[in-house]
Symmetry: C2
Subunit: 458 residues, 2 copies
């Protein structure tokens, strides 16, 4: 276990040690230059410089998510994320929010299964303020008992809010179906029971363990100066005494490979909702699996847009759903593929049959040339369109550094998509969609209907 | 009633008539040039040219919303919006979606109470395609019986989905509470009953009446050429025979002023949700009311961010809610001011009391200098940050043209915000927040609790 001293005693210093900086991607027309520095102390800083915009997004990624929690700590990562907004040695909760509000910035955070990210998007002239506030939150959080107490109610309300949104909650239920009561299968928010049981001591220990600078990645994109930003980040971390060990090295990305074999599982929540919300799916691919490009193209053609097979068959031709789509989620060592639909409870068997038939059809025959061409075009165009704001750019480089330890240029990314062949799509369709599915459903589904759900995954 | 002939018979032509073009706002550093053309036939085209981006958003706004519906037609505007994606004389539904999907574009539409907008966001090189598809949808929709039949199910599913999202639905309920069973008070989606009753003939007539070019505004933003875009739009509308009357003039914006006096009304939906979702509010301001700048600043300070009074009092200090905020909505002749909170059903009276106390406090004393300064900074910064993508720019100029018949430069907008004085805020706080509120609530709220809701607005 890594620990960090927050006491103001003598400690090793990284002063005088040099920052190692490399340019990873040269800037081209409309695309920024990506640079990476490693500070003494093991803190990574990646930036993408785009001189044509007037804003910047500054973020800090922590290599901790709900999969790092033991059963009793379930929800601690997300609870901690809330607590980092509650005050530091230098700022009250109001000071933190007022600083960014006063310049019209957008500050927020998100917790996932494998990482947590805190960020602020501001006008470029306000970037120094954003850096100062976000670094302070990450390095100087107090996590006082009174904050734990007040914030427990907020987190419980967030859980209740999610339970009032069955179209959202069904994805958590699908995770449970596929991954069971495991670190990766449990909900990011935790449960009412675990949140009520978490103590100040447990959360503070979790913070000290997981927010070591070697486990953090600073990422920024927009109209910024890399060297100046690195200097300011270093000063902020130094001031907090967070860069202690001059020889500390950044922690490498999570890795591993595991074979997920869940098949034929059915999880149902009987709720008095108007629609039934269902996810049908199977094991997918890890985020380093080379077949992921082909699966991305396949997913796009199957359920990624209005012209996709599922949208056409379920919504356009039959009017059975408003929302129907497929998606992939990838982790370090495994992944999921899922199809979501929201429909009348009585139509669930019909909708599931259509979806399953389409999955089988593609598993057997792959895509048509026209579908493949269109899906490649769609993925390419939406990738480029999705990288126009500094928030998206910060996310891309921050997540890349944390999860792959590497940066891919947009051109290389587009080349990967364009290179996907019909054979690769056929192979991944057979490997992934050819598996026996599992199912999660929320709605007014009584015993009789539940039997039909089991048939749908038989 | 305006009608439009879609038969291919001889008709007056606008050929040879000149387009009138004006530059409304000169471009400055980082801000585009805004130009406006009026085509013979009465079609308006506004664009904002930003040569530094690689994308463009093309939209068409129709001056029709749910407030233009009679009771039996409730939901027709939104139903029609769906039907415009179902096929034209030149394209099937799949042709429409496949065209934009193939280039990775994002195509969608939204229907509000006073307008409807269809748009596509694409890479700049794909703009001609986007123009062609969206113009075709607007001018050449077939609205076939089979499309009506298939899409009815989709719209009903959309209604059901909204009913499964109480945090969304409570805003509709608040509209009902404030505006009653009136065109403006009824839901945009309509009801299960009205949607089931709508016929092909009614919807087609609604289309012919409201999609006349004099009632449309074409808006585009991004890396575009104004003159070229105007030519292409004119060709597309001409080809569809949509520009017939060379002397037709654009329809002026909606106007009017009405005094809304709703007070003390309570609307409750008893639902088995986890949270209670409440909106407490009162009549607000129309979109042309000069006090709207002061109300915008006031709304920001009261419930517009994490440092706002409501967030601090309800969430930060007491942990009673995850989501709590205030908002304004403005129409041509009136408006609403509302405070939303989602909390434990048993805590509703407490949360409402805190909110009402804050409203009263501000109505009586206005804001502190520090709050005013911060709110002005927040509104200014978020305004500028909110105008970085071409979709937001298209929305701004399209809505401005349709609703105000005018364009305001970002500098002038910021000047309006910066000029708000403490006295103006105090005056508008007294005028708006000083009114007796009404209330909408969704949750497991039994008779006894309902009595306490009436107390909250007494």
């Amino acid at each position: 276990m890594t620990t960090r001293s927050t006491a103001a005693t003598a400690r090793p210093s990284t002063k005088g040690r040099a920052v190692r900086t490399r340019t990873l991607l040269p800037g081209t027309d409309g695309i920024g230059t990506v640079r990476r520095s490693v500070l003494p102390g093991g803190l990574r800083v990646v930036t993408e410089t785009l001189p044509t915009v007037r804003s910047a997004t500054f973020g800090i990624w922590a290599a901790v998510g709900s999969r790092d929690e033991t059963p009793v700590l379930n929800g601690a990562t997300h609870y901690l994320e809330h607590l980092l907004f509650k005050g530091t040695r230098r700022r009250s909760a109001l000071d933190i929010s007022a600083a960014v509000d006063a310049v019209g910035g957008e500050m927020n955070a998100f917790t996932a299964k494998e990482y947590t990210c805190y960020y602020a998007r501001v006008l470029d002239t306000d970037l120094p303020l954003a850096i100062d506030v976000v670094c302070d939150m990450l390095t100087g959080s107090l996590i006082r008992q009174e904050d734990i107490d007040a914030e427990r109610g907020v987190v419980l309300e967030e859980i209740a809010m999610t339970e009032d949104d069955p179209g959202d909650q069904v994805h958590d239920l699908f995770s449970t179906a596929m991954l069971g009561d495991t670190p990766l299968g449990r909900p990011v928010l935790g449960t009412v029971e675990t949140i009520n049981a978490l103590t100040r001591d447990q959360v503070a220990r979790f913070y000290r363990k997981h927010y070591d600078p070697t486990r953090l990645v600073v990422a920024a994109a927009g109209n910024i100066d890399h060297a100046g930003l690195v200097r300011q980040v270093r000063r902020a971390f130094d001031r907090a005494g967070a860069l202690r060990d001059p020889d500390a090295q950044p922690q490498p990305p999570r890795d591993g490979a595991r074979t997920l074999r869940t098949a034929g599982r059915v999880e149902v929540l009987d709720r008095r909702t108007e629609q039934a919300h269902v996810v049908l799916g199977m094991p997918g691919l890890s985020r380093t699996d080379e077949r992921r490009w082909a699966l991305g193209v396949l997913n796009t053609a199957l359920g990624g847009g209005m012209s996709s097979r599922l949208f056409q068959e379920v919504r356009e031709k039959r009017g059975l759903a408003y929302s129907v789509y497929s998606y992939t989620s990838s982790f370090a060592d495994c992944g999921l593929f899922g199809v979501y639909a929201g429909c009348q409870p009585a139509r669930v068997p019909e909708v599931l049959k259509i979806c399953r038939d389409e999955l089988n059809q593609v598993a057997e025959h792959g895509l048509t040339d026209e579908e493949l061409r269109r899906a490649i075009g769609q993925l390419s165009g939406s990738t480029v369109l999705g990288l126009e704001d500094t928030g998206a750019l910060m996310n891309r480089i921050g997540k890349s550094e944390l999860c792959w330890g590497d940066q891919l240029s947009v051109d290389d990314l587009l080349a990967k998509i364009a290179a996907v062949t019909p054979d690769e799509v056929r192979a991944v369709a057979r490997d992934v969609l050819g598996q026996r599915p599992s199912l999660a459903a929320i709605g007014p589904l009584k015993q009789k209907q539940t039997a039909r759900l089991h048939e749908a995954v038989s």
